[in-house]
């Protein structure tokens, strides 16, 4: 397996090998699925749409519908206006969504299609039915990563929908960042627990984890509604989770509707979850109920119980910037030692932030943005670690190096738990800890000699 990978690291300036990121439009598609009765639309060749739908489906094991402008060579030369207008006419006639959420691709970006102009023309030509909306986000694949696309789409929700009626409501906007449907559900549960009213945007719970009841619903119950998106302009606070995924949306809302904003790290682990709960508590002027404090206590208890197994363990981890900041912070809380942290997404500031988090436990940790899994693999060949964390693509590295592997991030295409069980919040922390220790114990149980097998751990 991965026979060509050696410990000798050569500098690469042009060749990406085994990427730890993908392109913007898939993030825009995922975010758009978190809007109620919304059809994501990919403005480009149909292959983009097919690839994004396929990968989101493999990750969520759920229907992922989206439409495409199906560019041919002609459209690529003459522009995509005709294709998009035809598409909008078909989409509204056949699939009847409330919103069509158009995102661009590298193709339509390079030819410079002006989407707002095409939308305007479509309105003038009566293609967009009364009361329905077409929105857009520019998501060039050659800038940033899939998380950038998610962020750009979230900002577009604000730019197109948020309205200020002048009357501030006792509601908090929660921009959850790129997390799982199960995570969004958990964030809502926690917000309910603290007792604040909120609007979550986007919200893929009940969309990408819909029940099997014998009926297919193209637009499941879930998703933030257009009315709610409009109302975000009247909330008294926006909380953006995950700086890369959510900052641009909450800042745009602040600018547009004067809604003050606060950007927090994704609530993974103890202190990041504390920050989220505390922010909600202060915002809602409520107190944290004992149920949530008990949850927190149960997580800390489990961390204490398991600390003999986690303490000092070296971890190699790759994923997306926001996920990594919080997950690595949690690893540090667990007494673990991040040894190498890699993301494919570019970001110098992120590198600096990671260093601040890790320095107290390991000043020599290798921290790289705009890097790849191949680099991480080469590095751990020369510097063995106790645990690898990352998305499904890490399994080949884990197998080659025989290192325990915990799946985390996007995409996870070969396991099922991520769709059902959150990793955010205190309960999510317990799940992560369970997975980490299981990975250690499974390796021991498999490899320890018979006379050293422990019944109790």
């Amino acid at each position: 397996m991965l026979e060509g990978t050696t410990a000798e690291i050569r500098e690469r300036k042009a060749l990406r090998v085994n990427p730890a990121k993908t392109c913007q439009p898939i993030g825009a598609m995922y975010a758009s699925l978190g809007v109620n009765k919304c059809m994501p639309h990919s403005h480009g060749s149909q292959g983009c749409c097919a690839y994004h739908r396929s990968h989101l489906t493999r990750h969520h094991k759920e229907p992922v519908v989206a439409t495409t402008s199906s560019f041919t060579e002609g459209a690529s030369v003459f522009g995509g206006l005709a294709n998009l207008k035809t598409a909008l006419n078909n989409i509204f006639s056949i699939y009847d969504p409330e919103v069509v959420s158009v995102h661009t691709t590298c193709l339509s970006e390079v030819i410079g299609d002006d989407i707002p102009m095409i939308i305007k023309k479509s309105i003038e030509d009566g293609i967009i039915p009364e009361g329905k909306t077409v929105i857009h986000a520019n998501t060039p694949s050659f800038v940033g990563s899939h998380v950038t696309g998610f962020a750009n789409q979230c900002k577009a929700f604000v730019d197109y929908f948020a309205e200020s009626t002048g009357e501030t409501k006792n509601v908090v906007n929660i921009f959850p960042g790129w997390v799982e449907p199960a995570d969004m559900r958990e964030l809502k549960r926690l917000a309910d627990g603290v007792g604040v009213e909120y609007i979550m945007a986007p919200d893929t719970s009940d969309v990408l984890d819909s029940p099997l009841d014998g009926e297919y619903h193209m637009y499941p119950d879930g998703g933030v509604t257009v009315a709610e998106l409009k109302a975000t302009g009247d909330s008294f606070l926006s909380v953006g989770l995950g700086p890369l995924a959510s900052t641009s949306a909450v800042e745009s809302l602040e600018k547009k509707c004067k809604v003050p904003s606060k950007v927090l790290e994704l609530p993974i682990g103890v202190q990041a979850t504390d920050a989220f709960i505390d922010a909600l508590r202060l915002a809602g002027d409520t107190s944290v109920p004992s149920e949530i404090e008990k949850e927190r206590g149960r997580l800390v208890d489990m961390m204490s119980d398991m600390s003999q197994y986690t303490h000092g363990k070296k971890v190699a981890i790759f994923g997306d910037p926001d996920h990594l900041v919080s997950m690595v912070s949690f690893l540090v809380e667990l007494g673990m030692v991040p040894a190498i942290v890699v993301t494919g997404t570019p970001g110098k500031k992120w590198e600096k932030k990671m260093k601040e988090i890790i320095d107290p436990v390991n000043e020599d940790c290798v921290i790289k943005a705009f890097s790849d899994i191949h680099y991480l693999h080469q590095w751990i060949k020369a510097n063995p670690v106790d645990l690898l964390m990352g998305n499904t693509y890490g399994k080949f590295v884990a197998k080659t190096e025989d290192v325990p592997f915990v799946r985390f991030g996007f995409p996870i295409m070969d396991r099922v738990g991520h769709r059902a069980f959150p990793t955010v919040g205190y309960q999510g922390g317990m799940r992560i800890l369970e997975k980490i220790t299981d990975a250690f114990f499974d390796k021991r149980d498999r490899e320890d000699p018979d006379h050293e097998i422990e019944l109790v751990l």
């Binding site: 050569r10 292959g47 690839y51 396929s54 439409t67 041919t72 078909n90 006639s93 800038v143 819909s210």
Partner: protein, 551 residues
């Protein structure tokens, strides 16, 4: 309203006639879309003389389609599976990432020291400045870095949409680096916007493989019966099952294009006596070009399904015409069937009369009908995702196919007989066999095999699929990942016929056993029965419904 169809109905026990279903499906569309889709949806009224289908035409923008792009057909399908070629996608990161190990074209290294590059995704990861200033330098550097680090025997480069638009000349970069590094390096202009589907990418791939790989190595292959299998991609290990059966028969496969295959196999495969074609759509170009250049004849085979496998093996034996081979093939068939028969007899007690609908690929929607027939199941509707008219109606329509603007942009290579390597004996043998009724360069298409008055739907849309299921509730749908969970939400199992739901192989004899067991499991699955909670069946209204009534 038509009478409820009977069990003998070509469309199964439920729902209206195919013609009524077609009307129903078209009704929802705006006029222009209706006209366009109407040409791609047919009732198979005269299977013997199939009607003209509007295949290989543009997808209607805004329709939820199964189709992908030219890059997917070229890199993803045809060239991507060659394990010891180092593949570099030139473009932004997405295309290389999505096509990384997502197609299950299995491969393994043959000897220590080799690298299976299928486990790697390599890309130039184009950034904004490359788009503005051009990406040729980046590509050149990437090829150099790939060579320095991995020392491959060949490097293949794939263009994505922006590459063509900004005018990067990948071919001149490849030529330059080929000269510099002394290994074979070649590129494919398979930008996603070319053609109307993956199919354009297949053609581009065939051209490139033919130009840059076929005929490179003239090492003689000593064997009495030497063939290539074209259009077999080793999904789930299909090619390995075919290899096993051929080894038992004593037939040498030089190259399987391009499943489970190495660079050396392909460069040497023009030494074969015969090409047999599995997936006609993706590789008929190669079969034709190899015949032109080297004189190697070809015919269509199908190793999906028991009858197809037996027929194909016998035809290959007959081509060589030697008794020892003909007898050996019969012995292998008898031995293999002894193992398959009890399984199929058992499974048939549960599957006979059940219905299936298949919407996939450019050959699978046809090939898999054989396996369903083996199980006594009825295919009520089928269609390809990216095939052409000849795949539906048979190759005899080829002279009548109009070449439209989208296809005209795909290069058609002019091939002439090779001055030294054209084997003049092969056409002579072909001619004499043809005189005895043996068919070459044949493919009769899907529609001739399908029952009268069933539905044929090209490039099926989401809406049509939903309607089909609503009207007919087939016992199983064969389709792909994008449809799978949509179909299953409706309580109908969906077999992925691209990825085999991570199972397989399904080819040959052992593959057939796997397929029978999988379909038996899926169509007998009791989990679907749990979809409705018991209180919904008692006639009592749920809280939600009760509210609605009182409101």
């Amino acid at each position: 309203m038509s009478e409820e169809a009977t069990n003998d109905s070509p469309m199964g026990p439920h729902g209206p006639s195919a013609a009524e279903a077609r009307e129903e499906m078209l009704k929802a569309y705006p006029k222009k879309t209706q006209r366009k889709r109407g040409k791609q949806m047919l009732v198979n009224e005269e299977p013997g003389t199939p009607a003209e289908i509007g295949a290989n035409s543009r997808t209607v923008p805004g329709i939820i389609t199964q189709r992908g792009c030219s890059y997917a057909g070229c890199k993803g399908v045809v060239i991507g599976p060659i394990y010891d070629v180092l593949h570099i996608t030139h473009g932004p990161i997405g295309c290389g990432w999505y096509s990384w190990l997502s197609r299950r074209n299995m491969n393994k290294i043959r000897k220590p020291g080799e690298t299976n590059f299928l486990q790697y995704s390599m890309s130039t990861d184009m950034q904004e400045d490359h788009i503005v200033f051009g990406g040729e330098k980046q590509l050149e550097a990437a090829i150099q870095e790939a060579y320095d680090e991995f020392k491959p025997k060949a490097i293949s480069v794939y263009a994505t949409c922006p590459v063509g638009l900004i005018g990067d000349d990948i071919h001149s970069v490849c030529r330059k680096m080929k000269e510099k590094l002394g290994i074979n390096i070649f590129g494919f202009s398979c930008e996603g916007y070319k053609g109307v589907s993956q199919s354009a990418g297949h053609h581009i791939a065939n051209n490139g493989v033919f130009k840059h790989m076929i005929g490179v190595d003239d090492t003689p292959v000593e064997h009495k019966y030497k063939i290539n299998i074209l259009g077999e991609y080793n999904i789930g290990g299909d090619a390995w099952e075919i290899d096993r059966v051929f080894a038992l028969c004593g037939i040498k496969i030089i190259g399987t294009l391009s499943g489970g295959v190495s660079y050396d196999d392909i460069t040497n495969c023009h030494m074969a006596d015969l090409n047999v074609v599995m997936c006609h759509r993706s590789i008929n170009y190669m079969a034709e070009m190899m015949e032109e250049k080297f004189g190697i004849p070809w015919f269509k085979v199908n190793f999906i399904g028991l009858e197809g496998t037996k027929k194909s093996l016998r035809k290959i034996a007959q081509y060589f015409g030697e008794k020892e081979l003909i007898d050996r093939v019969e012995e292998v068939i008898a031995a293999e069937m002894a193992e398959v028969r009890p399984v199929v007899e058992d499974v048939k007690t549960r599957t006979t009369g059940k219905t299936a609908a298949l919407f996939v690929g450019g050959s699978r929607a046809h090939h898999y009908q054989d396996l369903f027939e083996d199980m006594g199941m009825k295919v009520i509707a089928a269609g390809y995702e990216f095939a052409h008219r000849d795949d539906y109606e048979g190759r005899d329509v080829l002279p009548n196919i109009k070449i439209d603007a989208d296809s005209r942009n795909i290069e058609e290579l002019t091939v002439t007989p090779d001055e030294t390597r054209f084997d003049a004996e092969k056409p002579v043998k072909k001619k004499s066999l043809e005189e005895s009724g043996f068919e070459f360069s044949d493919y009769e298409g899907m529609m001739r095999q399908m029952a009268k008055d069933t539905l044929v739907i090209d490039d099926i849309s989401h809406y049509e699929m939903e309607k089909l299921i609503e009207l007919y509730k087939p016992d199983v749908i064969g389709s792909g990942i994008k449809d799978k969970y949509i179909v299953e939400k409706m309580g109908v199992p969906c077999k992925q016929l691209h990825s085999y739901d991570y199972g397989g192989p399904y080819a040959g004899f052992k593959g057939a056993i796997n397929f029978f067991k999988d379909i038996d499991r899926m169509t007998s699955n009791k989990i679907w029965k749990l979809a409705t909670p018991p209180w919904r069946n008692t006639g009592e209204a749920t809280a939600e419904k009760a509210e609605a009534v009182t409101a």
